[in-house]
């Protein structure tokens, strides 16, 4: 039996969280290889359908990261992201997924360490939860 290697997808906003992720790299912090970043301009780009698609295509965990409230490069984008996130959480639950598989974090460009902490903790949690139950369902 092969050990469970999670596939975690992270949607990082270009201006804050992606920069924070880069900083984590520049600082040579340890980040699990299970995490694949997807760069978007703003966390408000995320249609709930995109997040659900990630789970339906087998993501074991989905992380959404944006600028801290008040810092959004596009004024209010992250507020909308937060609202949509709350909605998606409910839908994820109704699909039979543990809601903890989806997380929203605010990470600024100077928070390399926070980024590393968030990813590491999230990875731990996903490993504990096990593989995405939807993967067994043939779509």
């Amino acid at each position: 039996m092969t050990a469970f290697e999670p596939r975690i997808v992270g949607f990082l906003c270009n201006w804050c969280s992606y920069a924070g992720a880069d900083l984590a790299g520049t600082s040579r912090l340890d980040i699990p290889a299970s995490f694949t970043p997807i760069r978007i301009m703003c966390s408000s780009r995320l249609d709930p359908v995109i997040i659900l698609t990630a789970f339906l295509r087998g993501a074991d965990g989905v992380l959404v990261a944006g600028c801290h409230p008040g810092d959004c490069h596009y004024e209010k984008g992250n507020y909308y992201a937060r609202r949509r996130f709350a909605l998606v959480k409910k839908v994820v639950e109704s699909l039979g997924l543990e809601p903890n598989r989806l997380q929203l974090s605010w990470i600024s460009a100077s928070e390399g360490k926070k980024f590393a902490d968030v990813i590491n903790k999230f990875d731990e949690r996903i490993r504990a939860l096990g593989p995405n139950p939807l993967k067994k369902v043939t779509l």
């Binding site: 201006w15 900083l23 801290h68 810092d71 460009a109 100077s110 390399g112």
Partner: protein
């Protein structure tokens, strides 16, 4: 030419470039961002300073019209038909800026360790280093004063560690001659060393910080990664924030201290939720439409605002004791774990030199004089002074002045004049 790559200098450069002008941005240090890049957050909305500046820094580094000259200073200025001929002394970085990819492998083997100036001495750095993680451009510099090779020893540790052969220990300082139509001085400010006023105890006691030191202490990319741990090793349970340090001696109000000390109280409470804060002020100076609301948000909860005079700080068994007068000449005291002092903003130490080179006047406080020709002119036509180089002010005022200087340049050159 823009002298100083702080927030005002960056703004002016980007705007001039947008207009199609070639800009030489001359920066004395090895990094861009000036003083604002040292802050974790800015008042009043407490947004992240790095996030705020990062897009502009990126734009700056990738802008084709802007030639950034770091480790460079103006040595001489003469006139020319188009404006000015400027001699720039560009110090050697000893690292090839094009070849270096910012991997940092060269730092570890360096045998020299000395107080990191950017981190206000709160941590050490090597003789070859970048000021802090995330500093731009992401290329280190060798500090000649500290490097043992320049003291005669045959050390090549950094050069040997570099896989790209980006380190050139024989690089020489360069002299450049540039012709420009106008000059914007955006050199910013220094803080006065308040150790000069013995009653505040700065420099005598380890847990007394000045404002910039505390900014770095709190910074998430700083020497303690943002953990508030004092030099003595303790986590403070109480703090005294002192306004107007050196104000009497200098004879002016530094405009932003009341506001940033409120920011500091928020910093403290965000990491140490039950911290007791005593804030000692003379007048609360919070002009502007949003600053009073900021004040009200910040003072909610456990902050003791004390109007005080004749303040002194001293050592005591349990920490630091602050003695002060309140109304009616009553003398009081309180004991705290840490003291943060708000020093006066003063002109950069090399301002008199620069003024002489540029041929512009200083006022009796040592700041560049504001001329009468326009809102940001200096005493000499074609040279503008913006930001804190002209006098203490907030970020938004500095940015507006930078934009105003650009207006002056773009509008006068169209009419054919300087």
């Amino acid at each position: 030419m823009v002298i100083g790559a702080g927030i005002a200098g960056i703004e002016a450069s980007l705007l001039l470039s947008k207009a199609g002008r070639k800009v030489y941005l001359v920066e004395k240090c090895s990094f861009v961002g000036g003083t604002v890049v040292k802050f974790e957050n800015v008042f009043p909305n407490m947004e992240c300073a790095t996030c705020m500046l990062a897009p502009r820094q990126q734009d700056l580094l990738q802008d084709r019209n802007i030639e950034l000259l770091t480790l460079a200073q103006v040595a001489q200025v003469g006139t020319s038909p188009e404006g000015f001929t400027v001699q720039i002394c560009k110090r050697a970085r000893y690292v090839d800026i094009l070849a270096c990819i910012g991997c940092g492998t060269c730092y570890e083997p360096c045998p020299v360790s000395a107080p990191n100036e950017f981190e206000m001495g709160l941590s050490q750095s090597k003789a070859i280093s970048i000021p802090c993680v995330g500093a731009l451009p992401n290329v280190p510099v060798i500090d000649k004063e500290r490097c043992v090779r320049f003291a005669g020893k045959d050390c090549r540790a950094c050069k040997d560690a570099c896989a790209l052969d980006a380190i050139n220990l024989d690089q020489k300082d360069e002299m450049l001659e540039l012709r420009v139509g106008a000059i914007i001085v955006a050199t910013g400010f220094d803080t006065w060393n308040v150790g000069q006023i013995p009653r505040y105890g700065y420099g005598r006691h380890s847990d007394i910080y000045d404002a910039l030191e505390f900014e770095r202490l709190f910074a998430s990319n700083g020497p303690t990664e943002g953990r508030i741990v004092l030099r003595s090793g303790r986590t403070p349970r109480s703090a005294a924030l002192v306004h107007c340090v050196g104000r009497e001696e200098k004879g002016y109000c530094s405009a932003v201290c009341c506001l940033y000390l409120l920011k500091f109280s928020h910093y403290l409470k965000s990491k140490i939720s039950d911290v007791k804060i005593n804030e000692f002020y003379t007048d609360f100076c919070i002009p502007g439409k949003s600053h009073q609301r900021f004040f009200e948000r910040m003072v909610k909860g456990d902050i003791n605002l004390i109007r005080a005079s004749r303040l002194e700080v001293d050592d005591c068994d349990n920490g630091l004791v602050v003695r002060y007068d309140t109304g009616g000449g009553k003398r009081n005291e309180c004991v705290v774990d840490m003291v943060i002092l708000a020093p006066p903003m003063q002109p950069r130490r090399d301002t008199p030199q620069l003024a002489k080179i540029l041929g512009i006047s200083l006022d009796d406080k040592g700041f560049f004089v504001k001329g009468v020709a326009s809102s940001v002119s200096s005493s000499r036509s074609g040279i503008y002074v913006v930001g804190c180089a002209q006098g203490p002010k907030s970020i938004e005022e500095s940015v507006a002045e930078a934009q105003a200087a650009v207006a002056d340049i773009l509008s006068s050159s169209r009419s054919g004049g300087l």
